[in-house]
């Protein structure tokens, strides 16, 4: 053992090198390489075989002609299909819209919550925050399922509305865009509240006292001092919600209608229903391209926060 250590030390691989190398190699293999493979497969053809895609690189040997050729076939038709067929473009745009609306709702509900908890008695903040996180520890799948019972015709809300006389028959909110908004906001709310709370809690309360002392009314002080200072939290929380929401599958699948087009569902259907792996890969690459800029912004914000020592 010590011999191995000695050798590795000499090569400069021991110590820190090993600590970094283990997760590094793991991620290279299981995170980075897969993306390259997806990129590659997006240029393949869908065939009836196991696995159901054609190979990109072929070695062609012609014995008679005495030739040995390396054939690389790139099938770009998958991407043309994405660009040409309205379905995909609509799905992308719809996904962006739904993700944006979800982010907005999460912000509207989550900001006051985070603010209220940050302003609360220090002893109470822990438990209050815990109450926000607790639903997160229970299965999100089951919680979406709960909304099915609430939103369907003859569901809880429908019965409530009928009972109070506001409507005359059962109301079906389920299987519509609104159900998706509610479900997604429900799931992503903790992701918005956490970074917002973290930023608001660190804010110096004496700033608001100074503003009041200088004659600013509370709401005005909030707009001109608290809101701008909480911007990093708003950005972090919004990105944490928006980016994964664009590619969301489960919620729209369970709560949305057949015309609730989201790119996550499209990818799933291409893969599982149509068994068209190349097209699914192309969809994934296109989705990645759409998200690359927000992802980079997110990493930039994360990096800055980490360096500021949190």
């Amino acid at each position: 053992m010590s011999a191995v250590v000695a050798i590795l030390s000499r090569v400069g691989l021991w110590g820190r090198g090993v600590v970094v190398a283990i997760p590094y190699l793991w991620l290279l293999l299981f995170f980075l390489v897969p993306f390259l493979i997806v990129f590659g497969i997006s240029f393949a053809e869908s065939i009836i075989a196991q696995p159901p895609y054609s190979s990109l690189v072929d070695w062609l040997r012609d014995e008679d002609a005495g030739t040995s050729k390396l054939q690389i076939l790139l099938n770009i038709s998958n991407y043309f299909r994405l660009g040409g067929d309205d379905l995909y473009i609509l799905a992308y745009l719809n996904s962006l819209k739904i993700a944006a609306v979800t982010t907005l709702f999460c912000l509207l509900i989550g900001y006051p919550m985070a603010y209220a908890i940050a302003k609360a008695d220090p002893a109470r903040r822990g438990p209050l925050m815990m109450l926000v996180i607790l639903p997160f520890w229970t299965s999100f799948l089951i919680r979406i399922y709960a909304w099915i019972g609430i939103l369907k015709g003859n569901g809880v809300i429908s019965n409530l509305l009928e009972w109070t006389g506001l409507t005359s028959g059962p109301v079906e909110i389920l299987y519509s865009d609104w159900a998706v908004y509610i479900g997604m906001t429900y799931c992503y709310l903790p992701f918005m509240v956490l970074p917002l709370y973290s930023t608001l809690e660190k804010m110096d309360p004496t700033l608001l006292e100074a503003a009041a002392d200088l004659g600013s009314r509370p709401f005005k002080a909030f707009l001109s001092i608290t809101l701008p200072l909480s911007l990093p939290g708003i950005i972090a929380g919004s990105l944490l919600v928006f980016i994964p929401a664009v590619g969301e599958f489960v919620t729209p699948e369970l709560l949305g209608g057949p015309d609730t087009l989201m790119i996550g569902r499209v990818l799933w259907n291409e893969f599982f229903a149509n068994r068209d792996w190349p097209v699914a890969s192309a969809v994934a690459i296109a989705l990645l391209l759409v998200l690359v800029v927000p992802i980079m912004i997110f990493q930039h914000v994360q990096g800055k926060q980490a360096e500021a020592g949190r």
Binding site: F30, L131, N154, P244, I295
Partner: protein
């Protein structure tokens, strides 16, 4: 004072929004009839059916196994990553490394699932491993994306920790590895536990990635729930939900009791210190 009123309302609305669905789930798990919207009497028969649902139980067993293994692996890898990012300064390839750590936090699950499946298929073609998809592939997949969460938790704990403790240990003659195991690790232990629990929960809850990378005979609990939920309401699911909520709630309750006791002890120690001044 009106402002406070608004905030309180907003807070309570938020909590209601979060908890009413869960409460309804629990209530209707005891409902006599199949309907989850009309109460027709108290019954625990759905719990009975749940216990006898073999498919569900074996899926649950599989899920727990995968979650435990992947959480453990994830904590080991994530701690290395968090340590590297917060203590090693600038090293070659740090930007790429940091990027690979933070990207899974926001990556849509369909992309993660698809890419990992394609990797496993390609690997099987080239190297012969992994031999078909199953528990191994699901575990690897879960480890990969939960590792990022653990890394973030560890990194933020390390950033908040006093770096001079590790310097003092080195100054007194301890080599870096010794410093990590004797000084750093005990002090970040709570973060390690939190990270493990986080990874465990994320793994237990995942349906999309598991659907992509699982194989015949390796159905996870979320996959079972998903397919049964797609077909509509099933009160067994309510029963399952209630059990889960119970476990989580009692876990948190116990944890907060322990933390409260530690807090009281700490206050007593501080008093003692001041008196001795």
């Amino acid at each position: 004072m009106r402002k406070i009123g608004f905030l309180s309302w907003a807070l309570w609305f938020g909590y209601a929004f979060l908890y009413v669905p869960i409460a309804l789930l629990v209530v209707f798990s005891f409902n006599e009839s199949r309907l989850v919207t009309v109460w027709s009497g108290f019954s625990t028969k759905w719990y009975g059916e749940l216990i006898n649902n073999d498919a569900l139980l074996s899926a649950a067993g599989l899920s727990f196994q995968v979650a435990a293994v992947s959480a453990t692996l994830s904590v080991m890898l994530g701690t290395c990553a968090g340590l590297a990012l917060s203590r090693f300064g600038r090293f070659r390839g740090r930007t790429l490394f940091g990027g690979m750590i933070t990207a899974p936090l926001v990556m849509p699950e369909v992309i993660t699932g698809l890419s990992l499946l394609l990797l496993f298929v390609a690997l099987e073609q080239w190297v012969g491993w992994p031999d078909g998809r199953g528990v191994t592939t699901i575990t690897i997949a879960h480890t990969t994306f939960t590792m990022s969460y653990v890394a973030v938790v560890i990194q933020s704990r390390l950033a908040g920790m006093d770096g001079s403790l590790e310097e003092a240990a080195m100054d007194l003659g301890a080599r870096p590895a010794k410093v990590f195991f004797v000084i750093t690790l005990p002090l970040i232990a709570p973060a390690l536990v939190a990270g493990w629990l986080l990874a465990f929960t994320l793994s237990l809850d995942d349906v999309v990635v598991a659907s992509f990378v699982s194989g015949p005979g390796s159905t996870t609990l979320p996959m079972v729930i998903f397919s049964s939920v797609k077909f509509g309401i099933s009160p067994q699911i309510n029963a399952l939900a209630t059990l889960m909520v119970l476990v989580v709630a009692s876990g948190i309750f116990v944890a907060s009791l322990v933390m409260a006791r530690q807090e009281r002890q700490r206050k007593r120690d501080e008093q003692m210190a001041i008196q001795n001044g």
